[in-house]
């Protein structure tokens, strides 16, 4: 659905993007992660035909962003990281204006505006002036605006920035709903736990270079050495640690807050055999879980490597 090939953008002597390539298949939520200034916004602006790349090509639903900007705009909804709203317009008029800019006939615009306000939970604010809405509500309205022409692809630049936790959860629910509707979504963010839960694919970018890209768990596995287990036992903790250390698949064992955290090399079957080894030795295991959230480790590892 989205294909980026060797995208390079040079501003004077500064290389903002250096041969970035990735693909996002239809229906995926692609998390675009990187520190500030890594090139996330530059990539998204090129994808939205708002910026010209120095070299490389990019396609949205088969349309070339440089040669067919009209087709791209037709298929893509874009929500920038920072945006203003017009004064003196109500939420309904705001959406109606953008729907008109997409040449949607007047008869359909009223229904589209009402449906979208319902989708983003702003139905009761339809007649409120947009400049009086809170930041969270403006973000939601802007998301609704990006959807007025029912695009197949959504580009969201930091959609959760500046939102309180509740607004963030609500935004996440809306995005999940949009994924169920079959939209392909690209989100740039640096709030990592949120992306782990929401995204199906991820790309880590740093200093203009793509450090890793692919399905979330694959990227984490690729970048973090081994997986982690948290094990709780009833007494005989030292014995349990000794058993774990003796196993060939275990790499490190730590005690954290009374629980054992073990890093191991292998897959789910290896984890099952570790549990068997403990219970087989008569250890009472009260908790045994694989640790999620390795994205943070993966991100730190990917962005700390000096590729130069």
């Amino acid at each position: 659905m989205i294909a980026v090939q060797g995208l390079t953008k040079v501003y004077g002597h500064r290389t903002a993007l250096d041969a970035v390539s990735f693909e996002v298949p239809k229906g995926e939520i692609f998390g675009f992660v990187g520190p500030n200034g890594a090139g996330k916004t530059t990539t998204l602006r090129i994808l939205a035909s708002l910026l010209e790349p120095t070299a490389g090509r990019a396609f949205v639903d088969g349309a070339d962003v440089m040669r067919q900007p009209d087709l791209v705009h037709d298929r893509l909804g874009y929500m920038p990281d920072f945006f203003g709203v017009y004064d003196q317009l109500t939420a309904t008029e705001y959406l109606d204006f953008y729907a008109a800019c997409y040449r949607i006939p007047r008869a359909r615009r009223t229904k589209i505006a009402a449906d979208l306000l319902e989708l983003v939970g702003l139905a009761d604010r339809r007649d409120q002036s947009v400049d009086t809405l809170s930041r969270g509500l403006k973000q939601r309205l802007c998301l609704a605006r990006a959807l007025v022409h029912d695009p197949a692809v959504l580009l969201l630049d930091e959609p959760a920035s500046g939102l309180d936790p509740r607004a963030r959860v609500e935004m996440r629910e809306i995005l999940k709903e949009l994924q169920r509707m079959g939209k392909t979504i690209v989100i740039s963010s640096h709030i990592l736990p949120e992306l782990t839960e929401l995204c199906t694919m991820i790309g880590i970018i740093d200093q203009g270079r793509m450090r890793a890209t692919g399905p979330v768990q694959d990227v984490i596995r690729e970048l973090t050495s081994g997986r982690r287990l948290r094990i709780m036992v009833m007494g005989r903790r030292d014995e349990a640690v000794a058993i774990l250390k003796a196993l060939p698949s275990i790499r490190t064992v730590d005690m954290i807050n009374g629980a054992i955290e073990a890093q191991y090399e292998g897959d789910d079957a290896t984890a099952a055999s570790i549990l068997q080894a403990l219970t087989g030795a008569g250890i009472s295991v009260s908790g045994f879980s694989q640790l999620e959230g390795g994205l943070e480790d993966a991100f730190l590892k990917a962005t700390s490597e000096d590729v130069g």
């Binding site: 939205a48 035909s49 920038p80 945006f83 203003g84 204006f97 800019c101 997409y102 605006r145």
Partner: protein, 345 residues
Amino acid sequence: MNRVAVALWNPIVAKEYRSRMRTWRSPVAMTVYILLLGGLGWAIFSAMSASARNVFSGSPANYGQALFLSLVIFQMVLLAFITPALTAGAISSERERQTIDLLFVTKLPSFSILWGKLLASMSFVFLLLLLSVPIFSLVFLFGGIELDQVLAAFLVTAVAALTLGVIGIACSTAFRRTLPATVAAYGASFILLAGSLLYGLLFPTSIDPNATAAPAPPAVSYLSPLLPLITIGTSQPVTWYGIGSGFSSGGGGGMMCSGTPGGGQQCVPLYANGKGVASPIYRNPPQPTGATIPSGLFAGWQYWQATVTLQLLISLAALVLSVILIPPTRHLPWQRRTRAAAGGS
């Protein structure tokens, strides 16, 4: 709707109308405009009534002409202040609010964004012009001014305002921030209104005593709408401005000439030492009639026709410049070469 209608009428116009008319600024601006113009009209009207009661001097037609002249020039100056303020922020404020990208990703072509902004701003200026019509009808109480003069004056004012508007839009497109755009737009208006007249003062047309046509101010000075407004109001050709005294080397000693108030020339033969003789020679070249330009680039045109043509040309140039500058990914010839070189390396 056909393609032309789609390009000319677009949602930006409707949105701009709506948000402009919902603020308190618009009615206040209209009221202040009418009060200023009406105040001037009333002041001149009362001064004339007072002087007509005391001394019988001049005819009501002269009063009408003086009132009309004052009003059209004051209206032009007012619009020169208002129009840049309306248009200089049109594009740059969208950039500052970061709303312009949201427009660029829609199906609206860049030209429609420009056109919509221009149409919305100019509609307000034309509304102000329309509001001033009842004040101008005062002139007809005195007579001395015909309807076609009023129409010509309004045409010149409207075209000049349009030019200032398009220049404002071009400045707004060229500068990223509203403040420099506004300063540049006011600078351009000043040059257009006063700078062009200054040119005529600094570089007046030299008088050629052998010319068969009466002298006229240099063509650059027709850029200013003030010149045609004065000629429309007075129905007289311009003889008091932009025509200097000149030297001619014909006939051995040469002559020094200068314009006379009647539009003729007065030439004084010169001796070798440059001192003129006591008795000047009066020449009487063909007299300009009505408000027609007697000579130069626009010979035979009405003053207002020359001004309107020049202003429309400037508007067109400014509009083309804006269309080139506004798109987020613009393709200028040298940029295309750079990109091709970078892409190929």
